[in-house]
Amino acid sequence: MGKARRQLPKAPTGIQGLDEITGGGLPKGRPTLICGSAGCGKTLLAMEFLVRGATEFNEPGVFMAFEETAKDLTQNVASLGFDLKNLIARKKLVLDFVYIERSEIEETGEYDLEGLFIRLGHAIDSIGAKRVVLDTIESLFSGLPNPLILRAELRRLFRWLKTKGVTAIITGERGEGTLTRQGLEEYVSDCVIVLDHRANEQVSSRRLRVVKYRGSTHGTNEYPFLIDENGISVLPVTSLGLQQIASTGRIPSGIPRLDAMLGGAGYYRGSSVLISGTAGTGKSSLAVHFAQAACLRGERTLYFAFEESPSQIMRNMRSIGIDLQPWVRKSLLQFQANRPTFAGLEMHLTMMHKAINAFKPQVVIVDPLNSFVIGGNETEVKAMLMRLVDFLKMNQITGLFTNLTSGGSALEQTDIAISSLIDTWLLLRDIEIGGERNRGLYILKSRGMAHSNQIREFLLTDHGVELRDVYIGPSGVLTGSARLAQEAQEQAAQTIHEQEVEQRKLELERKRRVIEMQISAMRAEFEAQEAETLNILGQEQAREEHLTQERVDMALSRKADLKPNHHRRGSK
């Protein structure tokens, strides 16, 4: 924001995520107050600030501990991979444990904290420190008498730290109604960060919030953070703006007919897909199809399973003809199975982030979402999912989530009310007809594409999911055996019809043959008559000729004239 404007100089903490929230780090050369209840990670955060400063930014640091001895501190942070002894030996770090024991101190009049100033000043100068941590300076109040003097001296201390030009972290224990017990926030007003560690439904989560940052913009939300073997990581997952790039690329769902329903091409790449439905409607099967399709394209899929173990999923999917084992072996498919109760939401989110960053998948499946809903934490689950969806979108990862809707509630209602975050929403539902239960699938919404509005029957076969057209009957859609009966009925009607047509054709042919036979018989009869007639005529002619000859012969014998006889015969 406002990069053109001069930003307040900042000292990067090097802590994952914190620099993003604070827009670059803590205010350079000024004190920052970090407060929170016991065990919330103040000391670790402060220590990481120093260690990162020393190792990554070449800024040596002084850690002044009022509560833990140098030995304890060194041991405690060794588990985070911080080697304090080495840093001290290299003059990158000074650890100074301030020992105060009230019972050993008698106050006999006015005093000041010049000793502390000299001590700190000496430590800073001895290594040229740029960073200072005072953890927890409020211990002075329990260790030294006369709070009035202490307050005045603390005010002077923070002013003095500013003049020294060191970036300081002052930690403080959270008080009742105030950020710190002794109201340190009155003195340290440049930057205040509150850490929180609370348990909800037996699941604890750590959070961080920048309450105040003078002269700088900052993320104001509560951000979950995690302490693990690599130190602290804060998740600034809610991006401050909605600026993800929307891909126009499409990826198939793994089920050709579903792709056809989704405008012919499947989901958008980088979109979020929700499959919701009641128990046993085949949500996971649909998800696995998608995973398999991704693996077939050579893309990586990360499958977060929160209800079934990987081997259980693989066994079950083999029954519908999908073998996931080869993809797991080829490292195209990775399962991350955890019980939702295993950790807090933030922890889950953080672990998911880490897994995604490590595996770099193109497809992420979360199965199912609603197992996170324990008790009344819907708002938190929603916030978490929003962060997850944002994160996936920013990385152009297609996310597919399943959600179990409970029997009684409306199908369109997800327990976690995340529908507004979802781009494509498939609804699987039971259709109860004729004493049986069948599965139906339809697309509730799919942003940015012309999608089918028809319900399809959803079948789980031994070679995967199949979608079938459903029959629309007078009592609604027909599925299952009702559909089969309907199909059989139509088949029968069709057969009868076809048979009738065939019958008519045969009849016609028969008639034709009969007529043709009649025709040929008549012709034969005619021909016979004709032949007979011709024969008779021939005989007659022959006889006549014979008679004529006889007459001629007779005339010849009688010496008569021939001619008139011949003429008479010709005129006949």
């Binding site: 100074d96 301030v98 020992y99 105060i100 050993e104 101190i105 008698e106 106050e107 006999t108 009049g109 006015e110 005093y111 000041d112 904290l113 010049e114 000793g115 502390l116 000299i118 001590r119 000043g121 000496h122 430590a123 002075l140 030294l144």
Partner: protein
């Protein structure tokens, strides 16, 4: 105010006063200390003044925060008294020369 009679006269008391430069508070403390010692510990005390501005390292070694701080190095255990030592009774209590209430 009476010095405890049970304390043997031979016991040496080693005192160290930490100051930071010649501030009025330091001067007052030193003057007060001198008076108290002369009055209650005549002949068996020894005062050493440490200026932390000249020897800043010692602040860490002796766990000094407040100025002025009077440390009773001997006899053991070590006692710390902070402030300008204007409250004589508390100084004596701090030095175990008066019983704690």
């Amino acid at each position: 105010m009476k010095v405890k009679p049970t304390k043997p006269k031979s016991d040496p008391i080693l005192l160290r006063l930490y100051v930071a430069g010649q501030t009025p508070k330091s001067m007052t403390a030193f003057a007060n200390l001198k008076n108290i010692c002369e009055e209650h510990l005549a002949g068996r005390y020894q005062i050493e003044v440490v200026d932390l501005l000249k020897n800043p390292k010692l602040a860490r070694g002796d766990q000094i925060l407040a100025i002025p701080t009077l440390v009773r190095k001997l006899p053991k255990p070590v006692r710390k008294i902070i402030g300008d030592l204007s409250d004589t009774e508390r100084v004596l209590i701090g030095l175990d020369l008066l019983p704690r209430e």
